[in-house]
């Protein structure tokens, strides 16, 4: 059973290699079905692994190299419920993304399938790994596959720009990760997370640890797209193929946050745990800034996929708040929220893809009213928007309520209100787009500048007059999943138990080095009345903002001046998103520098 851990990574990789080996013999449909089969197999394996792992921690040593003299000489996979759950979620999204692309997507087989499979293998490996350098290798495997998939549409200038920005920024992040690994290896002599943690516990918190922590966390936050490292994401997610967007938004961004949590709870907690009260505000602050920034930018975007990219950024900020609280309850809430929200975002991207397939455009103003012939898609899109506004009692609401409770318990009473505002902004952006496109409400073509959404080549071939079930069913299934996660009553407790294992420092080390460590299960409290109040308020605020945006000019006096003032206020932030990689790199450098300075000053 434990073999499932390596197999979940190795089978997709072997499959990808064989697909290329036989590619002259395989017709397109064979390659698609084979890839889908492998993805389903990986999904089944990760789910079985999740069930097998249960409350414990399963450790798998590659090559049979068990630790010698207390030193881990081989690589291990240390799988707990959070890691296995995330891996299962990722492979499920991959299955749906591959289904979405069958037959219609205009891609070169088998290379597209190969890239998707290796992308999945990298993500699953990242979730399961217990060795820091192995995490880096998986991180790079993910990134390289993603770069090729993002830049896929080489005939479009925007796609190349997005792919290049993505590649350069992520590569710099990878280098920072390596520098951090080198430093922490110098200090602890360990690449294995458990051993590192034990060594740091004795070794203390000196300069090297702080700098290594900054670099490693910085690299992961770049991947996760936290402000000010987030500029690449909007460029990249807007131009990628739709199934790839499903995965990027639903899974890849979250992995950066998972990485932050994993690295903290298993390794750095030993040295910096006593300073958690310093690290916490930095992480929570960055998360809040990201949440609000993403929400504000989403409202200004005309291009639907770019809008959704900013929604993704905003939500990653909330995930960081959850994990940044450095507590069990925060991790539990984030786990639920990641799954629920990932499903919603993937569903929304799928709807955007359907719009692109049927109508050939993704700009709200160009599409104004033309979505009237796609009622089913419109309903899914609107439902997605409401879920983003944390409509009780569904999945995203539950996740957010858990994070809010954790924040209040940790003393951050203002977090729920600010997060509510950010979600309302995002939801208003989505609902407004939906209303404009599907219902034809609001004025056609006014405020936002018309973007060059030059689809010189549509991403799908044939069948543009109807929505194939293959594209619609994943969108609907994803939405249904998001609804269901809120209704499943056992989920919060499962998440809480999983979080307890994830944050347990001593037990991780014991499990990796031999002894089993029993942890009691944890329970999670149900959402309180004020969570429902926040949820309702968020929905109300979102709907109000949507309405104002659509009809404010006619209904509310002074609206024109107010919205002009708002546009003026946000203009500098918009210009920062210049599309120039040099600007992004400068922001990244400053961000890492400031992060390091803050940590150094407060920890030493």
């Amino acid at each position: 059973m434990r073999q499932l851990a390596p197999l979940a990574v190795a089978v997709p990789l072997l499959g990808a290699a064989l697909l290329v080996f036989f590619h002259t013999l395989l017709p397109r449909i064979a390659a698609e079905l084979l890839a889908l089969g492998i993805a389903i197999a990986a999904c089944v394996m990760t789910v079985l692994l999740l069930v097998h792992v249960g409350h414990g921690l399963t450790v798998y040593w590659f090559g049979g190299w068990h630790p010698r003299q207390g030193v881990a000489i081989g690589i291990d996979f240390a799988v707990s419920a959070v890691g296995a759950g995330l891996a299962a979620f990722v492979s499920l999204l991959m299955v749906l993304a591959l289904v979405y692309g069958i037959h219609y997507l205009d891609v070169r087989h088998p290379y597209y399938q190969v890239l998707m499979l290796t992308f999945m293998a990298g993500m699953v490996g990242f979730c399961l790994s217990g060795d820091l350098f192995n995490m880096f290798v998986m991180f790079e495997l993910m990134s390289v596959s993603a770069v090729a998939l993002v830049g896929y549409k080489v005939s479009e200038g925007a796609a190349l720009e997005g792919g290049l920005n993505f590649a350069v920024i992520n590569t710099i992040g990878a280098f920072l990760f390596l520098l951090g690994i080198a430093l922490i290896y110098a200090h602890t002599g360990a690449l294995n997370l458990a051993q590192m943690g034990a060594s740091l516990r004795h070794g203390g918190d000196d300069r090297v640890v702080v700098v290594a922590f900054t670099l490693i966390i910085g690299a992961l936050l770049i991947k996760a797209a936290i402000v000010p490292f987030h500029f690449w994401l909007a460029d990249a997610y807007a131009v990628a193929l739709t199934p790839v967007c499903l995965l990027l938004a639903g899974a890849m961004s979250e992995l950066g946050i998972y990485g932050v949590g994993q690295v903290w709870f298993t390794a750095f907690q030993g040295a910096l745990g006593s300073h958690a009260h310093v690290v916490r505000p930095i992480l929570v602050g960055a998360g809040l800034l990201t949440a609000l920034w993403g929400g504000a930018m989403a409202l200004t975007e005309d291009h639907i996929k770019r809008l959704l990219a900013f929604v993704t950024i905003s939500f990653v900020g909330v995930f960081l708040i959850g994990v940044g609280l450095l507590s069990e309850a925060g991790v539990a809430g984030t786990s639920v929220y990641v799954v629920a929200d990932g499903l919603v975002k993937a569903s929304l991207f799928a709807c955007a893809g359907i719009l692109q397939h049927r109508l050939g455009k993704v700009g709200q103003h160009r599409l104004h009213g033309r979505g009237g012939g796609l009622p089913a898609t419109g309903i899914v899109f609107a439902a997605g928007g409401l879920l983003i506004a944390s409509l009780p009692p569904f999945g995203p609401f539950l996740g957010k309520a858990m994070i809010d409770d954790a924040a209040i318990k940790a003393g951050y009473w203002f977090v729920p209100a600010l997060v509510a505002v950010a979600s309302a902004l995002c939801a208003a952006a989505v609902l407004r787009a939906g209303a404009r496109v599907f219902l034809g409400w609001g004025d056609a073509g006014s405020d936002a500048p018309d973007l060059a959404d030059e689809d010189t080549e549509p991403e799908t071939r044939a069948g543009h007059d109807r929505t194939p079930a293959i594209m619609f069913v994943p969108a609907l299934a994803l939405l249904a999943g998001a609804l269901a996660t809120g209704v499943w009553s056992g989920l919060p407790d499962l998440a809480a138990t999983a979080a307890r294992r994830f944050t347990d420092f001593g037990g991780y080390h014991a499990a990796v080095f031999g002894t089993a460590h029993h942890l009691g299960s944890a329970t999670s409290s149900a959402p309180e009345w004020f969570d429902y109040a926040y949820g309702a308020a968020t929905v109300g605020l979102a709907v109000a903002l949507t309405g104002l945006n659509l009809w404010g000019v006619r209904v509310v006096p002074g609206w024109r001046r107010a919205s002009a003032a708002a546009a003026f206020a946000i203009a500098p932030i918009r210009t920062l998103h210049s599309g120039r990689v040099g600007d992004y790199t400068a922001a990244l450098t400053l961000g890492i520098g400031v992060l390091g300075a803050l940590l150094a000053v407060s920890l030493l």
Partner: protein, 114 residues
């Protein structure tokens, strides 16, 4: 001074990043990225060095001799391959971008907004 190699690594990082930020030619930018790569190699390898240690190849030295750390060398080997492949992908993207935009100036390649 026993921290010189680390300072070299830090300097390479700075120079490379400055090059990326100020570059007006994408090929130059990619080479600047390789300079940043070099800083990671230097740091990794200097971390593993043992004074008066020999290379960890036991073909002609006794197995009990003092050698430098083989683990960081393996890590650097992996690192070199990974980064070379990223450069290949970036170059492919730049070639296509040149065809599309008729330029390799990163500052001129913006089509997404005003």
């Amino acid at each position: 001074m026993s921290v010189y190699p680390y300072l070299v690594a830090a300097w390479l990082l700075g120079v490379g990043l400055y090059g990326v930020m100020s570059s007006r030619n994408y090929i130059h930018l990619i080479i600047c990225l390789t300079v940043v790569q070099a800083s990671t190699y230097v740091l990794l390898l200097s971390v593993g060095y043992v004074s008066h240690g020999k290379a960890p190849i036991f073909a002609d030295i006794p197995t009990s001799s003092v050698t430098v750390d083989p683990v960081v060398q393996a890590l650097t080997l992996t690192d070199v391959v990974v980064e070379a492949t990223v450069v290949a992908l970036l170059l492919a993207l730049v070639v296509q971008a040149n065809k599309r935009f008729k330029t390799v100036d990163p500052n001129a390649m913006t089509r997404m907004r005003d």
